[in-house]
Subunit: 402 residues, 2 copies
Amino acid sequence: MEGDPTLCLRIFDLNCWAIRYLSKRRQERVRLIGDTLRQDGFDLVLLQEVWSEQDYSDLRVKLAGCYPFSHYFRSGVIGSGLCVFSRFPILDTLLYQYSLNGYPYMLQHGDWFCGKSVGVSVGVTAPLLSLSLQLHAEYCREKDAYLPHRLVQAWELAQFIRHTSKAADVVLLGGDLNMHPEDVGIRLLRGWTGLRDAFAEATRFEGCKNGCTLVPDNCFTDKSELLPFPLGIRIDYILYKAISSFTVKCEELKTTTGPAAGTDIPFSDHEAVMATLHIQRRGQPVGATLGTAGLADVVTEARTEVGVGLRAARRQRYSSGRMAVLALLLLLLQAVAALGTLAGLGAEQPFPKLSFCLLAFLALGVLVLAAGLHLFHTMEVKMLHGTEDQMWMALRALQERP
Amino acid sequence: MEGDPTLCLRIFDLNCWAIRYLSKRRQERVRLIGDTLRQDGFDLVLLQEVWSEQDYSDLRVKLAGCYPFSHYFRSGVIGSGLCVFSRFPILDTLLYQYSLNGYPYMLQHGDWFCGKSVGVSVGVTAPLLSLSLQLHAEYCREKDAYLPHRLVQAWELAQFIRHTSKAADVVLLGGDLNMHPEDVGIRLLRGWTGLRDAFAEATRFEGCKNGCTLVPDNCFTDKSELLPFPLGIRIDYILYKAISSFTVKCEELKTTTGPAAGTDIPFSDHEAVMATLHIQRRGQPVGATLGTAGLADVVTEARTEVGVGLRAARRQRYSSGRMAVLALLLLLLQAVAALGTLAGLGAEQPFPKLSFCLLAFLALGVLVLAAGLHLFHTMEVKMLHGTEDQMWMALRALQERP
């Protein structure tokens, strides 16, 4: 950004909800997104939930003229769904996969299979670090079983940003954080990194009330989910931070409001977020970090939730381990009985062969499943425990800070 | 490091081979390691393969006086085995888990279960970034099936170092890289990060010939593995790099040579590596990075190997998918036959019930296993493909460099 007194950067962020076979009118919407992006000429486009590589390839071909640089982040079974299009060169990319991301056996909540990650692209008029990401979904706000996993992700993300952003001038984060603005995860992420919320900082705002990105007016949203929130909820964010001797100011923030211009359908079940940032050299970045005391409170709150998750994971590890041991015992018992019969010890076979075999296979199945679960929950315990430790170290460092 | 003209830093690195129930004379050796560390007073101790948290706790208690700061990195099913002890405060830690790390069904090669990672500790007379790590083991040098995984790890490690080290003054890496000095993975890591090899740079060296750390003289090493290398091999390294306006010089490098002083056993099956570094302000760091052309060659070589791994992973994904489909077809066929019999279509049951049931359970078992394998290899393909893409991007950037 040398010799450029004010750089105006226009950013587009959208959770595209492009799941093959499942998302309604997917191909039509992807075409629509591509057309709009080509027309509007943003500088940087951060997309999430582009699960099909074919959709990405189609977009890339369509946008090659105005966004010559792009990257698709691959991970997990299905993919990360993240991609970035840019008018400026992307010099380097990096993928960071969260260590915890739901449970493989919760097939109805497909998060585990997506390998949710944060995709980092460096460059775009370097040194600008832009991150596109999505955190674990919240399926039930009242009884949010995934809160500890989402907090581990928010913590890992915050740590990752702290460690990778030091040489950047500006950090930009766009994505579906699956958290309301006042949630502990958002406060942790913002407090620990100093990232600022474009919605809160914008000089002008235009779009859905309160900046909501999941609104009942959108024909694709699940109305029952939004019943407690008649205005909708805000879970998609553009966050930013100036490092070194730059300042960033959000001049304008917009969200889409339902159907795209000239059509009857919106881009996605989420609304798009569009920000215009002014980046200037000189001047110290305005510190938006929470004070040490406020930050310690947030980290303590997050650590308590991670602790709750840790205890739950330990219980599940114990139950699955006990189940595996019981199944193993049953199998051994059957083996002894079978050997006894073979050796002619028993006068006759006491069980019908068919039930005996069925039982053995059932026990084997339970053993394999329970052992798999035990392994999985052991990993979960390690990661939650590790995060709790890291947060404790952070708290200690905060207390020792003058 | 302000106001400190020359800082002398003594580092100890050891793969401890402390696997519960499997490693010979483990407790005795861990005690010995603790005693030596307490006596010798290093500044920074990087240990690998401390698989038991109990061993870490014992070491921590013993070393609390001389190394008041320590951290144990938790990950995977068993743990990462990594820990760090330091005479200076550890300000922050971060764990980066490699996206690929062997196969869960290769139980005899336990790498997958360890969740191999790189543990980063920041601080220790900040800003010094120290990394402790271990890469995937090499089980057969002639037919090294894990080479693509190890290369993905080396690449991720190099990228991780590039992105996290920018604000550090000095980067220090100690660990068991499971690669010979001339291997493509080491050349990739060193070329892409500019890290320098303490053994090659040391003013004085004392220890096993050629700096070997796996030597036939050690009573715990597998002699048959070392047959092609009568002097031993060097796979444990201390690498370092000065950033900003510092210079680092390796004054002395030492390795242990078999039995520890006053005993009949060595610390581990690996030899320990000990370096004395002199860190000085002023002066430009001596560039040890390969020239652009040399670097492009290394990245190309590594990318070719990753491509070989990608094709193998695709084949395995295809075979496991086909196997799952066949098992599913068999199950469906059986279901149709059973329903037919129930509906009284067939005059009599053509198969004995027991074999019928056994076959069904067998098909079900094969289906579950093959589907699991298919998922696993799908993830493997994604990660190898993603790394290949990143390397291609790196090559493009290298070619465009003046």
